[in-house]
């Protein structure tokens, strides 16, 4: 069992409260997932087309200042970073392959949890309230976020096995359920050159969808592909640079509830995670249908306005 939550803000005046609104949602899902927790926050973009690289030192302490010095030497530019508990976010030029290669070779204990112009991912073992407090979720700002509380059923308990998974720039995914054909799909993806950080089934889903997106499929089409390819039980919440999506398998046995007001769209495994949101009394509340893609994006809202 796991708990998942997502919050997509339509009203930019709420951006400063994103973390504050997401924290009680995540904590309310503790009983569904008390062993680990994590969240993906889509926050402010760095200047000069730089990217944010979120690094986790969960599996070993890291000397961040010396990493910064090494990266400055490698990339021949000044490097900024900030630290949140055992994670650090480095603001670096978009030389992704070079950075990945360098970190894998020189800092093999570090795990890159996210890369993107907006995305930051923080995840670790422990109760959701503790994880949220450690990383300071309450004060985080941004336009949308997804979160996960984990009760592991199919692979180990560690930061690397925790959700959300980032499998492409600004692409993140959380999952409640279990995939039955993840070994086969992982093998196929490996043959096509995709690399994996863990043996977790959800990582396979995240990498599969990102792989389809990389082939030029739209998010909607990539999720339709996932319905055909991924076998098992799932409710996914997905974040992208501009959007937020929810997908359930065709049996839809894993729970999900959606709520929408003029100010926000929210999803959770259970309604009680939404109960503290402002305006919930007037929200439209419904259960998403099986095998149906629900998605929202700021761009689409701007076009419609």
């Amino acid at each position: 069992m796991c708990g998942i939550v997502g919050l997509f803000l339509k009203n930019p005046e709420l951006d400063n409260s994103l973390g504050h609104l997401l924290t009680p949602m995540l904590v309310e899902m503790t009983e569904r997932g008390p062993d680990s927790a994590g969240f993906a926050v889509y926050g402010p973009q760095p200047p000069q087309a730089r990217l944010k690289y979120t690094l986790s030192g969960a599996d070993g302490a890291c000397d961040w200042p010396s990493l910064a010095a090494d990266l400055e030497q490698l990339l021949e530019t000044e490097v900024e970073y900030f630290v949140r508990a055992n994670h650090a976010v480095f603001i670096l030029p978009a030389q992704e392959a070079q950075v990945r290669e360098f970190i894998a070779a020189r800092y093999p204990d570090l795990h890159i949890t996210a890369i993107g112009s907006q995305l930051e991912i923080y995840k670790d073992t422990g109760l959701p309230a503790g994880v949220a407090a450690r990383f300071g979720l309450d004060g985080m700002i941004g336009s949308h976020a997804i979160g996960h509380t984990r009760m592991a059923t199919e692979s180990g308990i560690s930061g690397k096995h925790s959700h959300p998974f980032c499998s492409g720039r600004d692409f993140s995914l959380v999952h409640n359920g279990s995939l039955s054909n993840h070994n086969g799909v992982r093998d196929k993806l490996r043959h096509e050159g995709v690399t994996f950080d863990s043996d977790n089934d959800t990582e396979v889903a995240a990498r599969y969808i990102a792989h389809r997106l990389g082939r030029g499929r739209s998010l909607n089409d990539a999720l339709q592909d996932a319905l055909m390819e991924l076998d098992g039980f799932y409710t996914f919440a997905i974040g992208s640079a501009d959007g937020f999506a929810v997908l359930r398998d065709s049996i839809a046995a894993k729970p999900a509830v959606l709520a929408e007001t003029g100010d926000w769209v929210a999803m959770a495994s259970e309604y009680r995670a939404l109960a503290a949101l402002p305006g919930i009394e007037q929200a439209r509340i419904w259960e998403p249908k099986p095998a149906t893609v629900y998605s929202w994006s700021h761009e689409r809202m701007a076009r419609a306005a």
């Binding site: 839809a252 729970p255 509830v257 259970e270 309604y271 009680r272 995670a273 939404l274 109960a275 503290a276 509340i285 419904w286 259960e287 249908k289 099986p290």
Partner: protein
């Protein structure tokens, strides 16, 4: 009337209070439920319980005699294994309404989600709106009445429950077929609609049930089903 505020009392206190209230009917009001699970479960007396807000999973489960109203939406497994009494939801209900319910009446004034009436064994369920996929799955006895539409796989693997739908149906589930609406069914349906407080009559409803190809049905044992 007794009032319990779930901002200051626990769900356990609520249920213990309801269980200890004795057999004489009392009125109870539950404030600030915030989608909490297992509200007003296992009641065994004809209390009248009003839940003023949204309820979580398994609300009113195993109910006997009591009359429970949820003034909001409801999570999954509403009235699971209900034996008798009435549960009414003024909003929508999530999946598995009345799962394996043996008797009594459940009324959903909004929509119900998937697997409404799964494995029902005698309960009557009336949904003013529509129901989701796989409703009436393995339903054994009782009546599932849908005033709106029913999504795909209605009545999959159904036994001897009766399903009435006023609106459209998606693809019917395995072994579920449309059946003739006889005067006897019209009378029975009208009675259920009246008990549920629905304004519509039986006229526009169609009836669905088992083709009896999937299980060993023997007409001589019909009264035992």
């Amino acid at each position: 009337m007794r009032t319990i505020d779930l901002d200051t009392s626990s769900v356990r206190e609520l249920n213990a209070g309801l269980h200890g209230a004795g057999a004489a009917p009392e009125e109870w009001q539950v404030l600030h439920p915030h989608g909490k699970h297992a509200l007003a479960v296992g009641l065994e007396a004809a209390h009248k319980v009003s839940i003023d807000g949204h309820a979580g999973y398994y609300c009113g489960g195993m109910n006997k005699e009591a009359d429970i109203t949820v003034k909001g939406q409801c999570g999954k497994g509403l009235g699971e294994n209900i034996m008798s009494g009435t549960i009414r939801v003024e909003g929508n209900a999530a999946e598995a309404v009345g799962a394996s319910g043996h008797g009594g009446l459940i009324v959903i004034e909004g929509d119900a989600s998937s697997r409404c009436g799964i494995s029902m064994k005698g309960v009557d369920i009336v949904v003013k709106g529509s129901v989701g996929h796989m409703s009436g799955f393995m339903a054994q006895a009782g009546n599932l009445v849908v005033c709106g539409d029913a999504d795909d796989d209605l009545g999959d693997s159904i036994y001897e429950a009766r399903i009435y739908v006023r609106g459209k149906t998606g693809a019917l589930g395995a072994d579920c077929v449309e059946k003739e609406m006889t005067p006897e069914h019209v009378t029975a349906l009208n009675q259920i609609l009246k008990r549920a407080g629905m304004a519509c009559g039986a006229a526009a409803f169609r009836r669905y049930g088992s083709a009896r190809k999937l299980y060993n049905f023997d007409i001589d044992n019909a009264e035992n089903y």
